[in-house]
Structure formats: structure tokens, C-alpha cells
Amino acid sequence: MNKPSTQQAILVYTLLGIALIVFMTPIYLIASSSVKPSPIMFQKPPAMIFEPTLDHYRDLFAMRPFGKFIGNSLMVALGSTAFSVFFGSIAAYAISRIKHKRMNDVAFWILSMRMFPPIAVVVPYYIIFKTVGLLDTPIALIIVYSTANIPLTVWLMKGFFDEVPTALEEAAAVDGHGLISIFWKVTLPLAAPGLAVSAVFCFIFSWNEFLFALMLTGSNAQTAPVAVMSFWSSDAVQWGRIMAGSFVILIPGVVFVLTCQRWLVRGLTMGSVK
């Protein structure tokens, strides 16, 4: 590759700078507002220099069991991620390997699960979970999120499995390994970047989801985003707590993505077959 010229570098960094401002401004506002004393929160122009306070965070955990809601969120997000990645991978492997003329239809059918508008199924879900007694439980949310996450995982993982050379699986078969051993020790490790990508998408979707969490949970299984919303009541909007809650919500997602990042490296299959 040619070394970029100075003009190109300036252009690239300018664009990056603009993107950074666009994406980081809301996060800056959340972070700064969460430590701003309430009286100066809506000053114009915004107060850039002020004495930071942790009052909002203290209120956040003192007034409501916010730790519990974070725990719910984590349980639901991790549960749905694990469930979706596990079953999605198995399904994707079957779709990738089984040669059948209707296999594409099956794959499309799975994808079509993601096409319905969520609002359309909220009420049916509500009735179903109420009937079976799962309303306001993390399991209900895990199931609902997995119906969206499994199709995504299947399609992502199918692409990764397609790229694992079948010769490697054949070699493992001749080396004396059975189907499960081959999948577990040869195919899956080589599709690890796909697992990481799937896990990140599943986690982020489940972690951020609001509509189903609002409708299907009450005080018991409420997730953090819904809990933050509850600071917005008819008589007052507690901006400080909302900002503090929002900032806390940001953290696990960032940690999870950074953890998975080292697996997001492609090129693991290089050097296996010519």
C-alpha cells in the first residue's frame, strides 16, 4: 500500500474527528450531567467548570434497588447470548453442511423470524407468559430475546462455517473422531471469530432492549433500561439519576465488547490447506 499523502492524512483525521464528535457527544453529556449538581444542570451556556458530585449515583442505588436491575439485565443478556450462540451455532452448522435442495428455504425461514415488527407480538407474548406464569421473570425475556438473536447467530455462523474447509473435518474423521468431537475441536475453534461477533451482537441487543422489557416485567425482573425510565414520572423528571443510571448501563456493554474483541481477529484458518 502506498503511504498516504499529507492531504489524505488530514482528510482522514478530519473525518475521524467529526465522527468522534458525533458519537461521543451524547456519552460526554451523560457522563458530565451525571456528576453535575442539579441546579446547574440546564444552565445556558452549559457549565463546563463545576464541582462534580456523586449525589446522583448515591441516590440511584439508595432510592431504588438499581443493583438488582443491573443484575437482571446481566442475567437476561448473558442468558440469551449463551442460549442463542449455542443453539444458533448448532443450527448454522447443520445448514452449512447438510446438502439439501430445500436448505436455503430453511435458512430463509429462520431469517424471516427477525422480520416481524416487535410491537406486533408484544401483546401475544404478554398473554402467553401470563398464562404459563412466566410474566415478570428473566426467563421470559431470555426466550423473547433469543427468538431475535438465534436467527442472527444462525446467519452469521453459517457464513463462518462455510469458510471452514471440509477437508479439515474429513481429516479429523479419518483421524478417528466422531461428529461431536469434530465440531467441538476442529470446526468451532476455527469459527471462533464468528462466535465472538455473534456474542457481541446478541449481548448488545439483549442489553439495550426496551420495549419487551417494559411490557413483560414488573418490579421483580425489571431490567436496567426500564428502571432508568422510571425516574421519569408524571410529576418530575429526575435527570441526574437518569444520567447516572445511563452511565452505569454503558459500562457492562463496553467491557463485554472489549473482552470479545481479541477473538474478532480473522485469518485463523490460514495455513491449514494450501
Partner: protein, 357 residues
């Protein structure tokens, strides 16, 4: 016991039949090479033996056992793949150990076996590397090592040398021959390279279009080809083929008349259409008065060092002759070329079958 037996083995993909009921016996300890042009069904046959392809019909046995429905892992075979198929996420040592895991050996025994084979193949220095960090020749040896650690009953090789450069190929070919002498394991080896086949095989199986054309020792397929396909496929440059007719105890072709060699007498009918086959080294330069000689014009000479190849025009026929390089005629020269009667093969022009037996 580890002999391989194929009886009327058929392979179909949907309605298309690619292997048409072949019979083959591979004796215990024998080195058998499946040889043929691309698409002849040799790799499919090998993969059926490995269990990577289903057998559509017929019987496939390893030892005394019919293995049509036996999973690859239970067949006691080891295979070296054309593209090596090394596990990229494992080191050389892990690649070799992986083949031993299903045997449930102790860690000590696994290490002993792996080290022994690694020593034999000169891989000891490379054990901690991953396949991506190896050269083509090294990968090839790891692939062989992985097959060898299992001490299988049967070795299967699928064009193992085709990804190596010419020099390395010769070297590894020799290694394989030595290993077979040493281990004495039954080997089924697929290649399209006749030199590999001739140098390695106890027995060569020549295939075309899903049929076996001939089974025999390298000497047999070279000197007693069953048909025109085998005759032209084996040998480089290929055997010269001249359409002719039997007339008055002579083989008459356009611009050429050869006496019917004594061993064919009584086997040919007057007026029969035959094809004369003669290898380049069956042709020699001669005086015009000699029997079985014909006038020829040298079109091109190819100098090979010890020998030279002459592209000759004899009447309408283009022939290749192999002659001593010393004193070779110059291009454009009119010469006389002599046909060694002992080197003449005759084939039925219609069926292609040899008339020698």
C-alpha cells in the same frame, strides 16, 4: 488383516454414475497406485475406501469386514490429503496428538509415539509451530506424521505430492518408498503422475471414466498394455500409434509396410483394421535396405542430454523416436527409420484392445 477388497463398487451422485462397478484387490502390505487422468474416479474410489464417500452399490471390505456402512473413524485407515488438511489452530505436536486422542492412550504413550514419528520424519524442531509457519514440504511431512502416529492398517494417499515443487517431489517420493519398505503397511495411493506411479507401486491400477482399464505391475502396464488407452497413457513421450490394415502378412499403413511380427501370426485376419503401437525407443535409425524400415523426414529434434527425441514424419504419420543424442540427424534431413519387431504392439482399432494376448 488389512487387505482391501472392492467388488462391483459403484458410486453415483444423484442420477450420474461416476464409478461403474469396479473390482480391485489390494493385498496386505502391498503398495497400490490408482492412476488416471482427472475425473477418472480414482479420488472418489479412494474416498470411498476412507469412508468419506458413501458406496452406492457393491461391496467394500477391509480385512474380513465389510465396511460399506462403517464410519471412517472405525475403519483403521489413515489418510494424507492433497492439501494436507492440517488443523490450523493446533501446533505440529497437537496436530499429531489429535490423531491419537480417540485411542485413549496414556499421556506418556502419546508423547512417546509422537516423538518417535517426529524423529523419523525430522519434525522434532518444528513441534511447537503452527501449520501457517511451515513450508510446503514441512506441512507435507506433518500430514504424513499425523497419519503415521496412529499405526493404521491402511494408508491412503490422495495426490500427496502435487503441491510440492519438482525437486521436493522427488525427495518426498523416495521418503514414501523408504517408509513403506520399513513399515510394510498396506498403501492405496492416488496420483495422476505416472512417474510417481511407476516408481512407487507394487501394482498400478489405471482408471478412466470410472472404469479400471488395467491392473498390473509397473513393468506389465508399461510393456504389456491391455489397450490403447493404457499404452498411450503410460510412458513419456507416449507410444506412437499408427492405424494400419493386415494385408498379405504385412501391416500396411499409408507410406509404411511392416512384416507381421511372428508372435502375432495366426491371430490376425486378412483385411483386419489394427493400430500399430510402438514406443519411441522401439524406433531407430537404419539404412534404407533394412527390413521393417521406412523413409522419414526429421521435423524437429529435442536434445535431452543422453538421448534426443526426433519428431518424424513418415508418410502422413507423425512419430516420435528416441535415439542416442550423439550423431542425431539435423532437422530437415531425410532418413530411414526402423521398427523393432519385438517392440511392436498391435491393437484392435475398433475396441482398442491389445491383440498381444
Amino acid at each position: 488383516m488389512s487387505e482391501i477388497t472392492l467388488r462391483n463398487v459403484i458410486k453415483r451422485y444423484g442420477a450420474v454414475e461416476v464409478v461403474h462397478g469396479i473390482d480391485l484387490d489390494v493385498e496386505e502390505g502391498e503398495f497400490v497406485v490408482l492412476l488416471g487422468p482427472s475425473g477418472c474416479g480414482k479420488t472418489t474410489t479412494l474416498r470411498m475406501v476412507a469412508g468419506l464417500e458413501d458406496v452406492s452399490d457393491g461391496n467394500l471390505s477391509i480385512g474380513e469386514t465389510r465396511v460399506n456402512e462403517v464410519a471412517p473413524k472405525d475403519r483403521g485407515v489413515a489418510m494424507v490429503f492433497q492439501n494436507y488438511a492440517l488443523y490450523p489452530h493446533m501446533t505440529v505436536r497437537q496436530n499429531m496428538e489429535f490423531a491419537l486422542k480417540p485411542l485413549g492412550l496414556s499421556a506418556k504413550e502419546v508423547a512417546r509415539r509422537v516423538d518417535e514419528i517426529a524423529n523419523m520424519l525430522g519434525l522434532s524442531e518444528l513441534m511447537a509451530r503452527r501449520p501457517a509457519q511451515l513450508s510446503g514440504g514441512q506441512r507435507q511431512r506433518v500430514a504424513m506424521g499425523r497419519a503415521m502416529v496412529r499405526t493404521p492398517d491402511v494408508f491412503l494417499f490422495d495426490e500427496p505430492l502435487s503441491n510440492l515443487d519438482a525437486k521436493l517431489r522427488t525427495q518426498v517420493r523416495l521418503e514414501i518408498a523408504k517408509l513403506h519398505n520399513r513399515l510394510g503397511t498396506t498403501v492405496l495411493y492416488v496420483t495422476h503422475d505416472q512417474v510417481e506411479a511407476m516408481t512407487l507401486a507394487d501394482k498400478i491400477v489405471i482408471m478412466r471414466d470410472g472404469h479400471i482399464e488395467q491392473v498390473g505391475t509397473p513393468e506389465q502396464v508399461y510393456s504389456q498394455p491391455d489397450n490403447m488407452f493404457v499404452a498411450t497413457f503410460i510412458g513419456s513421450p507416449p507410444m506412437n500409434m499408427i492405424p494400419a490394415q493386415v494385408r498379405e502378412r504385412e501391416l500396411q499403413a499409408n507410406g509404411l509396410a511392416l512384416k507381421v511380427p511372428p508372435r502375432f501370426e495366426g491371430r490376425l485376419a486378412e483385411g483386419q483394421s489394427v493400430t500399430i503401437g510402438i514406443r519411441p525407443n522401439g524406433l531407430s535409425l537404419a539404412g534404407a535396405e533394412m527390413p521393417n524400415a521406412a523413409p522419414a523426414r526429421v521435423e524437429v529434434t529435442e536434445y535431452l542430454g543422453n538421448e534426443a527425441l526426433l519428431d518424424l514424419r513418415v508418410g502422413p504419420h507423425e512419430l516420435i523416436a528416441e535415439v542416442p543424442a550423439l550423431g542425431r540427424p539435423a532437422p530437415g534431413t531425410e532418413i530411414s527409420v526402423q521398427f523393432d519387431p519385438d517392440a511392436i504392439h498391435l491393437f484392435d482399432t475398433e475396441t482398442g484392445a491389445s491383440l498381444s494376448r
